[in-house]
Amino acid sequence: MKIAYFAWVRERIGKSEEIVTPPEHVRTVADLAEWLKGRGEEYAHAFAEPGMVRAAVDRRHVKPDAPIAGAAEVAFFPPMTGG
């Protein structure tokens, strides 16, 4: 599964994307964020403030309880500031 990071989430983690294979109990976007937090300080820092990181599954905005089964790409990013 490809994971993409943007803006300060990308800066804190230190990479813009990576391929990961989460264990089977990681079922939702929230599970995935929690699992990523355990991978190192940089991840813990990126996901430190609860609710501050948004997610997209296959390029669509989703809520934390969205399932990731079958997803090709999950992205994490701060609230958007476009326009």
């Binding site: 390029r59 669509r60 905005h61 476009g82 326009g83």
Partner: protein
């Protein structure tokens, strides 16, 4: 029908308006919104706009399709730039065309509110003193502006 572009290059408002009008019959009202980089009283040297390639276009297309469902539009164009943008330079353009003014105004306002809170773009400030001002924080007013369309 909507013409959607995510690009580093600048855009020409007059050319986009002409293109929207050329593709439509009996347009009575054309509204344009141009978002421009402010210097914030000289504090800012530039904004760096990061985006999520692929999703940016798709999300804008979803918002545009929703606008076309809600209002009887005859033409619609959205262009959002990314990369380094200096004060006075254009960031985003929305053009809406309709038979009557209310649809054109409301659709343009709706599109901008949704682009602000849903289009995957992030702004980083580069300050005039050479330092980084960090990432722009989302504005509460923008969330409230989006909420009024729900």
């Amino acid at each position: 029908m909507a013409d959607i572009r995510v690009q580093a290059a600048d855009f020409d408002v007059a050319a986009e308006v002409a293109a929207v009008q050329a593709g439509a019959q009996d347009v009575g009202a054309v509204v344009t919104f141009t978002g421009v980089c402010r210097s914030d009283g000289g504090r800012l040297a530039a904004l760096e706009l990061e985006h999520y390639p692929g999703m940016a276009e798709e999300e804008i297309a979803r918002v545009a399709a929703e606008a076309e469902r809600r209002w009887p539009l005859k033409g619609l164009c959205v262009i959002h730039r990314f990369g380094l943008i200096r004060p006075g330079e254009n960031i985003v353009l929305v053009v809406t065309a309709s038979a009557h003014r209310q649809a054109a105004f409301e659709a343009a306002s709706f599109l901008m509110d949704y682009l602000k809170t849903r289009a995957p773009f992030w702004k980083k400030e580069h300050l005039a003193d050479g330092t980084s001002g960090g990432w722009v924080a989302p504005r509460q007013e923008d969330d409230e502006a989006t909420a009024r369309w729900e």
